[in-house]
Symmetry: C2
């Protein structure tokens, strides 16, 4: 929208080396807007713009830039201005900093750590140690903390001191001397309470928390379920180690949805957005799956070869081969899509009602199969003849039922074996159904039209 | 997890009509947890449980129940306890209330409105009037408001009064007498500021807001971009009419992702979750697409009929028909998946770089096509012969390139014409590529193996 007007403005200021203009520009706009404008700039230009702002603003804008661009800036500063890089890394919020550092090689990280104060360094090492998809990897260690035996007045006073470098002060956690999580209180409750109330009376003790090794997707799901702004993360001894905030939960939800969408289309998940992913990586992520699917298609060809004499006797069969296979594949894709999304969104914790699912899908397969069989029969009759129409119809009904059931059950099976159900992509379901579809098509033809003596 | 233990507990209390036990149960647990436990209960049991709690708690739990269950409860109360229903509707938060009422028929709503106080009634009528997918349909009218010329001390005092029935008080909006949005201040800033500071000095004036008729997906995207807890919604004269909060934005993101996933699998989007959708509705949502796809398959059959004499001369061609068609369909599904997700997530506002996309996809199509052509050639040669292998290879290369380009460009075209790019489902791409694939396969065969005289 109005960014298209902002970009030339900023570029003009750069040409005129109007530092105060640039600084005002960055002060007035939300850092996310500035970051968006800067995305089209060269690395040197971005550094020049940031140079005109005060440190806090620089870091705020940096955190809103896409990760690959952040990396380019860091690599430039690593060579040319290590002092500034050191300030950036110290000032960044702990979760964004680790996101950035986790993209660098171990050697690069070790080279950068001496630039950072000791306390921050320990924080970085700890956060970097958590597995990529865990709560620990997205949490921030900058949360607001209070002891239990103080009054609301003192609590607000303490919060005022903590506020400037905490990710949120709207939820405050109460811990004991051993950092065990005792309770939680919202800023809303603090504001509403009488100043002399003691925190122990006010705080909620049934705190919903997640474990540091819980999956990110589970964490985001919990936050969504409870409408939380933040959720506390504890270790296996219920000691508070961090919080995950609503914005990170939203990013996780979207990343997981993207990953699932890509897998449904038989693309191995990408780390960055489509345009930020190098062509070679994309080729690799697509080629792997296309190779696997081609092997399945070769198996279908081998299967068709078994029936070569039938094909030669009933040459009309080729006409409806795509229809027969597509019907099964399409019905299977639909079932897999519905079940995979159901497992991802509605059924993260509870034991899923497999029997009910299987019954529903079986009924659907039979009904949809009958419907498509009618279409198949009509055109089979019209293009070839009545008996041939029946062959097509019977095959379609069976293949659709089979496709529906396997599309529904394979993702569930995948999960049972600890694999991601989303791996069951639409093309993979189609490829599996293809092989079986050929067997059904030819078996039905032999059964209804008579066996053909081999050559 | 531990809900499996809670359910029998609660059921036991119901059997023993232990009202105080039930009430304590609901007080201790988060309303979302109670709601989850209640999901497995009968409507009369749920009403009995809620009956033991105080009104505010009843409504909190109600709001966490799935919509179809909320509807069953409302319909029961409509017949048996209109007074309680009236209290519920008055106490519910404005956005959840409208979500519920929008599922009822106009007559039902008109029947319920007299149960509600006049002010709330106007609020409901206004919110119900916004289109389903708009910001207006998910916003709440319970936001915190301040005039501009007061001190921070007075502001906090006013906020304390507003807090109990506002969805959030962490972001506070500043308006003039005509309700025009002037600025915004966070509770964090208020807490940090000196009590005598005047709000005009503290508030941010470059407020990022959305319009009441903006699409929900855009609203959620803006909140995600700026990491907002809430975003103000204004009318076309910049008058504040509501706010959308982070939890609703998260729900929108997830709903849109589910809708896109379903469309990618050729299922018309569902309103409720898979298990909550009646079988008949599912059959309808799937049947429509299967019907369309079958018609496309019939077109493929008709096309194959044009080449009947070629099929009869080169009977081996049937072996590689599934492989040829699947290669194109799979490559096309991949491209469509990548582009649709890119358009949905990364490219909501900006003019997308179509030329760059087209060039990338063309290169990918040619590279992947060459790779798959090699597989096709090997097995064509192995199963039939060298020239036949070349026919398969040339076809695969062309079909994959065509599939990739159409998979990438059709979603973009769809959007150009104001349609949802996600309509370009994987099976639809495959169906389109099938028809063209047949033409290419036979044309290449005729070209390389010689024309066959008809009949």
């Amino acid at each position: 929208m109005y960014h298209s007007l902002l970009k030339p403005d900023l570029q003009q200021m750069l040409i005129e080396t109007d530092h105060s203009g640039v600084s005002e520009f960055c002060d007035v706009l939300h850092p996310a807007v500035t970051a968006e404008v800067l995305e089209g700039f060269e690395v040197v230009e971005i550094l020049e713009v940031l140079n005109s702002c005060e440190l806090l603003k620089q870091v705020q804008i940096l955190e809103f830039l896409p990760l690959p661009l952040q990396l380019s800036l860091v690599e430039d500063l690593e060579r040319n201005d290590r002092k500034r890089l050191s300030r950036w890394l110290e000032e960044m919020s702990s979760d964004d900093r680790v996101d950035l550092l986790s993209r660098l090689s171990d050697e690069q990280v070790e080279g950068l750590l001496p630039l950072i104060a000791q306390a921050e360094r320990n924080d970085i090492r700890k956060l970097l140690s958590f597995p990529e998809e865990s709560a620990g990897a997205i949490m921030t260690t900058e949360y607001a903390l209070l002891p239990e035996n103080i009054t609301v007045r003192d609590a607000l006073e303490k919060l005022r001191k903590q506020a400037p470098d905490r990710e949120t002060i709207y939820y405050v956690y109460v811990i004991d001397d051993g950092r065990h999580l005792l309770g939680f209180v919202s800023l809303r409750d603090l504001i509403l309470a009488k100043p002399e109330t003691v925190l122990t009376e006010l705080m909620k003790r049934d705190v919903i928390s997640v474990r540091v090794d819980d999956d990110q997707e589970f964490v985001a799901g919990e936050m969504q379920k409870y409408n939380f702004i933040a959720i506390p993360v504890v270790d296996n001894q219920n000691r508070l180690v961090g919080i995950v905030t609503h914005d990170d939960a939203m990013d996780v939800l979207e990343e997981e949805a993207t990953e699932d969408a890509h897998m449904a289309g038989a693309v191995a998940p990408l780390e960055d957005s489509y345009l930020e992913t190098p062509l070679f990586t994309l080729l690799h992520k697509r080629g792997i799956w296309l190779g696997i699917l081609s092997s399945a298609a070769v198996a279908t060809a081998a299967m068709l070869r078994q029936y070569e004499s039938v094909s030669e006797a009933y040459t009309w069969m080729i006409l409806f081969l795509p229809l027969v296979l597509a019907s099964g594949g399409n019905a299977g894709s639909q079932s897999a899509t519905l079940i995979i999304r159901f497992l991802a969104v509605d059924d993260q914790q509870t034991q899923s009602p497999h029997l009910r699912l299987a019954r529903r899908e079986l009924i659907m397969g039979l009904t949809l199969g009958t419907f498509l069989a009618l279409i198949g029969f009509s055109f089979g009759w019209m293009f070839v003849g009545k008996v041939e129409g029946i062959v097509v119809a019977v095959t379609v009904a069976m293949v659709v039922t089979l496709g529906t059931c396997s599309g529904a059950m394979l993702p569930i099976l995948f999960r049972k074996f600890g694999m991601d159900p989303a791996l069951m992509s639409n093309p993979l379901i189609a490829a599996i159904v293809d092989i079986l579809g050929v067997v059904i098509y030819y078996s039905v033809a032999i059964l209804l039209l008579g066996r053909v003596e081999p050559g």
